[in-house]
């Protein structure tokens, strides 16, 4: 599947973008503050400056540094019909994270720790999902997110403040889309969940679990967590998810499980 199945090519974002992500990203784009921030970026050439900063500080993963990664990017470019391959940079940090920014010259920074923890199929899933994100226009929203977080107080009044909640809300649901594209690219549900939970469980534990089994222990834990009836507990959880800009793994796993058993099967049939 995925990398090893070239039938899965030219997939449109409408196929994999989660409805909640689409609603949230539309809300961000329609806001006046977003348009103003975009205007500032274009007027002051901020995207070029960000690119220069990455180039000055982080080691760039060029085709000569990693032919294998660039081969993956090319395959993902075809799979998700992406017009431009982003520049990839290595961020030196023990945290596991990846960040896409930019529209005209998109940049993806991948943390050294994340790269260290991943095997080759996971790396493919990561690169492919970032390429799908480029196609879905995430780079533009993340560029504004970057601008608000680094230069918020310097922006004209109200821009950063009015975008804050909208961006966090989008960020939360964008993760669902990332999870879906990782699954589509790799074609292996268990691997997609292991990638989602990378670093969240003791080494070796995730490899032994069958996440497609509806009676697996993690599924039980997630169901129990999500079936909480207490209003106060649910309010606190909801607020936490909104404020942190990230959803609970339990929600992400269950969403991906639902996707796997519904739209994903249609997608597979379509391309077979």
């Amino acid at each position: 599947m995925g990398r090893y199945n070239q039938k899965n090519i030219h997939i449109d974002p409408s196929v994999y973008q989660h409805p909640a992500d689409r609603t949230a990203s539309d809300a961000v784009r329609k806001s006046e503050a977003f348009q103003k921030a975009l205007g500032l970026i274009s007027r002051f050439g901020i995207e070029k400056e960000i690119h220069g900063l990455y180039r000055a500080c982080y080691a760039q993963i060029t085709p000569s540094v990693s032919p294998a990664i660039h081969e993956m990017l090319k395959e993902a470019q075809e799979m998700f019909d992406v017009p431009v391959i982003p520049d990839i940079f290595l961020e030196r940090t023990y945290q596991m994270r990846v960040l896409l920014t930019g529209v005209e010259r998109p940049v993806v920074t991948v943390s050294s720790e994340l790269l260290r923890q991943m095997d080759e199929p996971m790396l493919w899933g990561l690169m492919a999902s970032e390429m799908a994100a480029v196609k879905a226009g995430f780079g533009e929203i993340k560029l504004i997110e970057w601008l608000c977080s680094t230069a918020g107080p310097l922006l004209p009044a109200g821009i950063a403040a009015s975008l804050k909640v909208l961006l966090k809300n989008w960020h939360r649901y964008a993760q669902y889309t990332y999870d879906r594209t990782t699954l589509i690219a790799g074609g292996d549900f268990n691997r997609a969940v292991r990638f989602m939970l990378l670093g969240e469980a003791p080494a070796g534990v995730l490899d032994k679990m069958d996440f497609l089994d509806p009676n697996n222990r993690y599924m039980k834990q997630c169901r129990s967590f999500l079936s909480e009836k207490d209003l106060v507990a649910n309010t606190v959880r909801g607020a936490g998810a909104v404020l942190s800009g990230g959803d609970f793994y339990a929600s992400r796993y269950m969403e991906l499980f639902r996707f796997y058993h519904s739209d994903y099967q249609d997608l597979i049939e379509e391309f077979e």
Binding site: G52, A56, T62, V65, L123
Partner: protein
Amino acid sequence: MEYSALRGLKTEDYEYPGENNAFAVLKKVPFLDQVTAGFLKLQIQTGLLPGIQGDCFRITEDTCPEIYHLYQTALRRLDMPEEYPLYARTEFDYNAFAAGGESFIVVYSSILNHFQPDELLFILGHELGHIKSGHTIYQNMAENLRSLISQIPMIGQEAAIGLFFALHKWYRMHECTADRAGAIAAGSVEAGIRGLSRLMGTDERLPLIRFSEEDILRQNDAFEEENEDFITKVICLAQIAGSQHPWSVTRVKRLHEWGESGGFETLIHSY
């Protein structure tokens, strides 16, 4: 190149051009260095040092013989007869620092665990280079001076801001000098560049990724080409002006240039 000690090595022999000029102004003030060293020693003894001694692991011949012997190699190659306490601090990030006055060095555990021996020699040599050149003392002296100047009525604040940028330009030169000291301790410019690349995130444990010196130099060329227009140069200058370290790619390039110019080799052969 094989060598064990560079007897009589002076900092002027490998200093980054321009560093000494800024130094000279402060050096001319009588007794300023002794007074600053005294204050700094007191400051460190009462502030920083108890935390280091109480929380960090001291590296000795008994506790970590391999790292200790590398440290001895760095001291010998830089002709530093005095041994400064070396501590390991548990951190995930890659970093190390040296303190002046009551001098000591702290290296983060991630470096000790993951760097190759010659890369670690570069880090140890870099920090020893700061001590050998008196950077820590002179930086402290300069900052105290800036603090005093800022108290002058009417013009003090503006003058202090000007001094801030001038000093930071000087601090960035310090880093290039310390990088050269690191290369001397590591035994080659190539090892120094590998050490610098590791600080940028390159890592032999990363699957499918192999960086070479040429890759980083090409990246620096691309960075310089892209930032040739006036506005970008101004923005870049504004971004780096308040930093104590030059851009990572710039540090690699400057060390590489020292090697290419024959500076390193001439220095080694002259001792």
